[in-house]
Symmetry: C2
Subunit: 147 residues, 2 copies
DNA sequence: TATATTTTGAAAATAAATCTCAAATTTTAT
DNA sequence: ATAAAATTTGAGATTTATTTTCAAAATATA
């Protein structure tokens, strides 16, 4: 577990180092994302902020996300219905996403051999891996039962 | 190597079995796709058809693709810049896509342990896998050299 | 405090994918 | 072969996530 205040401070330094200005909107968005437990899209995040009384615009949410990706706090994990979903990178091991094509539920699986496999293939191609997605589309056990 | 005429005939049967009508547009689109050697999006496919003098509309291309996916001839392999890319499933082993974030080049890697890993995890979750994508984003060897 | 620079919100623009609907085509029935 | 029924087509309109525009507001610097 990493402290929110510490992350917020690191982000401030990241922003400053890039010659950008540290704004309350950027901080609000980061703090809200740090509370997320699973996958989110821009609209969900924006709605959560509004419900708390925040006045941030959707445009600012869209503009802040690439900064948080670059800073390494979040990652785009998959796209569904032409929408991008993100998740916190912190405290998380790289994992597989099982996406049920019936109910759209997304399940996470940690496989300890996956990272090795990727490192091996990347080295073989002289490729520097940054991030990866393994998405498996199929039918979940719930949906198999109720046919 | 599978014969085009044989595939075209199978597709005709597939369409008929679904109670749909077999049209010259659907056949044209399938034949063009069968010539593809790598990944394509709807626009590229549509442009190739038009250059050959075909009169098919983009709407028909969009409408035929899900049929070809359902029939198992093609697969959506990744999304880039809000666009879906497809490839022929025929004669191809499941593979990894290395996507260079600098030059956008996509490289294919066949890993013989990947399919096993997926089967193992799916069985563990009582999940029926249909398709999967493993995309690795990073920097390719070419782009590493010219910094 | 004044100045320069960046960021913001609101609304317009963009673009891939989907939808609409009358005309054309395919299939089935006669 | 011909007619009727059903589906598909092309063209353009619509949808919707994301990006862009730009004047006003906020931030950083002097
Ligand atoms: Mn996840
Ligand atoms: Mn491929
Ligand atoms: Zn399900
Ligand atoms: Zn490259």
């Amino acid at each position: 577990m990493v402290l929110t205040t510490e992350i917020v401070n690191d982000f401030k330094n990241f922003i400053k180092k890039k010659g950008l200005k540290y704004t309350s909107e950027r901080e609000e968005i980061l703090k809200e994302i740090l509370k997320s437990k699973d996958h989110f899209d821009v609209d969900e995040l924006y709605m959560k902020l509004r419900k708390k009384g925040s006045k941030v615009s959707k445009a600012s949410v869209y503009r802040t996300i690439p900064l948080l990706v670059e800073a390494g706090y979040i990652q785009e994990v998959y796209k569904q219905d032409a929408r991008s979903y993100y998740e916190l990178t912190l405290d998380k091991l790289p994992h597989i996403h099982f996406i049920c094509v019936k109910c759209k539920n997304v399940d996470e699986i940690i496989d300890k051999y996956l990272a090795e496999l990727i490192q091996k293939e990347a080295k073989n191609k002289d490729y520097t891996p940054l991030t990866y997605h393994l998405e498996i589309f199929g039918i979940c056990s719930n949906c198999k039962r109720r046919v």
